[in-house]
Symmetry: C2
Subunit: 216 residues, 2 copies
C-alpha cells in the first residue's frame, strides 16, 4: 500500500533518533518505559497508582503524550512527580523527535525511571521507537477479550501486559483467560499483571516488579 511506502523514510529517520535516545538513557543510567493502550484503558490512572507507591523507592519522571490538553500532566504532577506534556496537535502517536523536545526538561542523571505515556492508540505508537527499554501494553477488560488477536503487534512487542479494571469483570462479558491465552501465543515471555486502579487490587505486585526491573 502506498502509505506504508511513504512512511518508510519517516520510520527510518525515527529509528536513528531513537537509537540516540537509547545511548543517552544508558549513559545516564535511567530506565525508560513506553506505556501504550487504547484511549480510556486507564494509563493515567495506572500512573497515579504507581507513582504514589514509588515515592521514596525510585526517582521518577513522566512524559505525557496527548493530542490536545494538559489534563494528564496535571494529574501526574499532583502525585509529586515532574511531568512534561507533549501536545501532538493532531498526530496519533509520539515519535523520537517529539520526545527529544521533552527530554531537555529533565536531568536524566538524577532519574532512575522515565515513564512515557503515549497517545491513546493501539496501532501507530507501536511503530515509532522512542528508545525505550520496555513497552508496556495496558488493556482494560471492558475493551473485550478479542483485542490481542485483533491488534496483535502491540501485544506481541510489549514485554509487559497490564490488564486493568478487573473490578468490572462481574458486570461484563470478558474472558480473562482468553486475553492471557492470546497474549501468551503472541509473546510467551511477557510478564502479565491483572489489576484494578480503582480498588488497588494487584497494583502492589506490579509496582514491586517495576522496582526490581528498574534496579536490575
Amino acid at each position: 500500500m502506498a502509505q506504508v511506502e511513504v512512511q518508510r523514510p519517516i520510520l527510518e529517520a525515527n529509528d536513528k533518533i531513537a537509537a540516540e535516545h537509547r545511548r543517552r538513557f544508558a549513559a545516564a543510567g535511567v530506565k525508560v518505559l513506553n506505556l501504550i493502550s487504547s484511549p480510556g484503558s486507564g494509563k493515567t490512572s495506572l500512573l497515579e497508582q504507581t507513582l504514589r507507591r514509588l515515592a521514596g523507592r525510585l526517582r521518577v519522571g513522566v512524559v505525557e503524550g496527548d493530542i490536545q490538553s494538559t489534563e494528564d500532566a496535571q494529574r501526574v504532577a499532583a502525585c509529586g512527580v515532574k511531568a512534561v506534556q507533549i501536545e501532538t496537535k493532531g498526530a496519533c502517536h509520539l515519535d523520537g523527535s517529539m520526545l527529544a523536545g521533552a527530554l531537555g526538561a529533565f536531568d536524566l542523571d538524577q532519574l532512575d525511571l522515565l515513564i512515557v505515556e503515549n497517545v491513546g492508540n493501539l496501532v501507530c505508537p507501536v511503530e515509532f521507537d522512542l528508545g525505550e527499554d520496555l513497552k508496556v501494553a495496558v488493556l482494560s477488560v471492558t475493551e473485550g477479550d478479542d483485542k490481542p488477536s485483533k491488534y496483535p503487534q502491540l501485544f506481541a512487542e510489549a514485554g509487559v501486559l497490564v490488564v486493568n479494571k478487573i473490578d468490572l469483570l462481574p458486570y461484563i462479558d470478558c474472558d480473562l483467560e482468553r486475553i492471557h491465552d492470546s497474549c501468551r501465543k503472541l509473546n510467551p515471555d511477557q510478564s502479565v499483571f491483572d489489576l484494578s486502579c480503582k480498588t488497588g487490587e494487584g497494583v502492589d505486585r506490579w509496582v514491586d516488579w517495576l522496582v526490581d526491573w528498574t534496579k536490575a
Copy 2:
C-alpha cells in the same frame, strides 16, 4: 511536523477517491455511515443490535475494517446481513481505495444503507474521508468522560454520537453530562444516543432515528 506534510498528498489522493465514492453512492440511492471509535467501545455489538432491529425495514450491507481477523464480519453475517471484511494488514484506518475494493462485492442499487465499521482508533480514521454521508462516533462510558476534549476532531466531525455501555455507569467514575457538554461545545448539531448494547436500553430510539435518516 514533517509527518503531516508527507501525508498531505496521501490525503489529497484519498479525497479524490472519496468524491468518486460519494457520486456512486448518490447515484445508487444508498446512504453510507462511517462508524468510528476506540478499540472495544462496542461498534460491532452496536451493529449486531442495530441489524437485528433493521430486518424488514431497510436493506443493509456492512463493510468491516480490521487490522487482522474476520471475527467481526462473521458476527455481522450471523445477523443475516452481507458483510465484507477488509483486513488492513497493519494500517490503522480505512481509506478510500481499501473501500473501493470492498464495494465491488455489493449491488449498491439493491441497498438502502451501507455501514462501514472502521478500524478501532479515535484519530486516523477521522482524517480519511470514505465518501460517507455521516460519521457516527461511538464512545463507551468506560473510556472516561475526558475523551471528547482529548480527541476533539472525531467528536467535532461526527453528526451522531452513540454513548455505549451505560449499564456500567453505576460501577465506574464517569460523568455522562460532562461527555454531553463537551460534545455539544464541539458540535452543537450532533444527535446523541445514550444506550447499552448489553441490556438493549436506548437502542430502539437510535434505530428509529437511523431508519428516518436513511429514508430522508
